[in-house]
């Protein structure tokens, strides 16, 4: 979805564009518009939280600007980062070392980085993989709220079909690289799910 993995066969079209055919510059511009929350969060553990958040604009900043905002963060950026962390309920950690935070807090730092990026879409890879099942629904609701507030398209990859069905308005079923369905959750019946879950693995997307 952000051209991190090149298609082994076929083509991946996004907004009518084939990402693997873009020049590096155009690809970078595309990527800067898609906020990304990796499954492993992709944070630098041994720097303070604000540096991870401020790195969100790396795709639109010049080399010099991005290095400066890491070493001498401008006041406006810090204020914006604080605002985002406040929204996520972890503003007191702005200047803490990232690896001193709990897993859930680190996930929020990754979300904060994606929001600081000011993207058009938010892409979360398996956000529930690292979350206590009782908090799964709350996390998806938080992502939905953030997307609504920012007017962002939210794309989440999930294994939990129940949650996907109850939380999202569109579900794409992928199995071994084949598109099985792309539909409204209400129209997805047991038949489609059986096809999706026949061993081995699957990805349900919304």
């Amino acid at each position: 979805m952000n051209g991190l993995v090149a298609p082994t066969r076929g083509r991946a079209l996004l907004g009518g564009r084939d990402l693997s055919s873009l020049t590096p510059k155009a690809l970078s511009k595309w990527r800067a518009r898609v906020g990304y929350i990796p499954q492993d969060f992709g944070l630098v553990p041994n720097v303070r939280v604000h540096r991870n958040v401020l790195a969100g604009r790396i795709g639109t900043e010049s080399f010099f600007t991005s290095v400066r905002s890491a070493l001498l963060p401008p006041r406006e950026s810090l204020e914006r980062a604080h605002e985002i962390l406040e929204r996520l309920g972890i503003e007191e950690h702005l200047f803490r070392r990232t690896d001193s935070l709990s897993g859930g807090e680190q996930q929020r730092v990754a979300i904060a980085r994606a929001l600081f990026q000011e993207p058009h879409a938010l892409l979360a890879d398996e956000p529930l993989a690292s979350v206590d099942p009782t908090r799964a629904r709350a996390l998806l609701e938080l992502l939905q709220e953030l997307a609504t507030e920012g007017g962002l398209t939210l794309i989440v990859s999930l294994h939990n079909v129940e949650l996907a069905r109850s939380q999202f308005s569109r579900i794409v079923g992928l199995r071994e690289g084949e598109l099985l369905f792309d539909a409204d959750p209400k129209s997805i019946g047991d038949e489609e799910l059986d096809a999706l879950f026949r061993i081995p693995g699957n990805h349900g997307q919304s």
Binding site: S28, W30, A32, P38, G42, N46, A55, G59
Partner: protein
């Protein structure tokens, strides 16, 4: 079906151990070493005994050797200072020189740019190998012959192999650094150079710093030994004292060197703790 085969796969440790022992045996045989050769002759034994007994009572002062003798302690301080200055100068030269070499020798750098490692990488790795495969004392001999005895000769002799070793280890440390933050920053459009500097380097920095400190300690020891070639470091005075059979003075210098290295080790541990925590 018979019973399953539950024998654990053989360990390679035993073979490595046996191979090492065999190699040691072959080396002893090839060198014609025998324990008898290690027992010193009569004169040697007295010398050895005198030397080690002197170790129990290192000198803190001495009768002036000449009209211009500054005294042992003043001489020692001067030698320690020179030893440190030579080491610091050569490391300050070696670190900036090794960084670009380390980048071009690493796999990570080229992978971030999404291109296969070019011929340049092989060339840089070969250069690094040449730099570090010649010991600093050999470089000193070569450079002394070419440029004569000057502080620059000593500093460059140390800096060349240290550049090679630092570059090799730096590039390995960079390649061992986890990539998750770097790939996350790539995914949101960071240019490879930005990703390298902001996503990868911060994670590698504690290791790079710790290794640089360690190399500085090594440079201090090498700088001391460089004195045996006439540079004004600890080795110069050790050699002079040893040649005059002033063993208690030799020990003064030896203990000072040991203290210096221990001190640096403590200091680097302290700095590292503050830096990493």
């Amino acid at each position: 079906m018979g019973s399953p085969d539950l024998r654990a796969p053989g360990s390679r440790g035993g073979w490595i151990l046996a191979g090492t022992a065999l190699a040691a045996g072959l080396a002893l045989w090839a060198l014609d070493l025998s324990p008898a050769g290690l027992i010193p002759s009569g004169g040697g034994r007295t010398l050895l005994k005198d030397f080690f007994i002197a170790g129990l009572s290192p000198l803190t002062s001495r009768e002036p050797l000449s009209a211009t003798d500054p005294g042992l302690m003043a001489e020692l301080m001067q030698a320690l200072k020179k030893t440190l200055v030579f080491a610091a100068a050569s490391i300050s030269l070696a670190i900036p020189l090794s960084l670009p070499l380390a980048l071009f020798a690493s796999d990570t750098w080229w992978e971030l740019f999404g291109r296969p490692a070019p011929v340049l990488q092989g060339f840089v790795r070969a250069t690094i190998a040449v730099l570090r495969s010649i010991h600093e004392l050999l470089w000193a001999v070569l450079l002394l012959a070419a440029f004569g005895l000057s502080p620059a000769t000593g500093v460059i002799a140390l800096a060349i192999p240290f550049t090679g070793t630092l570059a090799k280890v730096f590039s390995e440390l960079l390649d061992e650094t986890p990539r998750s933050s770097a790939s996350a920053l790539s995914a949101i459009g960071g240019h490879p150079s930005q990703v390298f500097l902001l996503g990868l380097t911060p994670r590698a920095l504690p290791d790079l710093t710790a290794y640089s400190f360690y190399r500085f300690e090594c440079a201090v020891r090498s700088s001391a030994v460089l004195g045996f070639f006439g540079f004004p470091t600890l080795g110069y005075h050790m050699r002079a004292s040893f040649d005059d059979l002033r063993f208690r003075e030799v020990w003064t210098y030896l203990y000072a060197l040991i203290l210096l290295v221990l001190l640096l080790e403590g200091l680097s541990a302290l700095l590292r703790r503050r830096f990493v925590a």
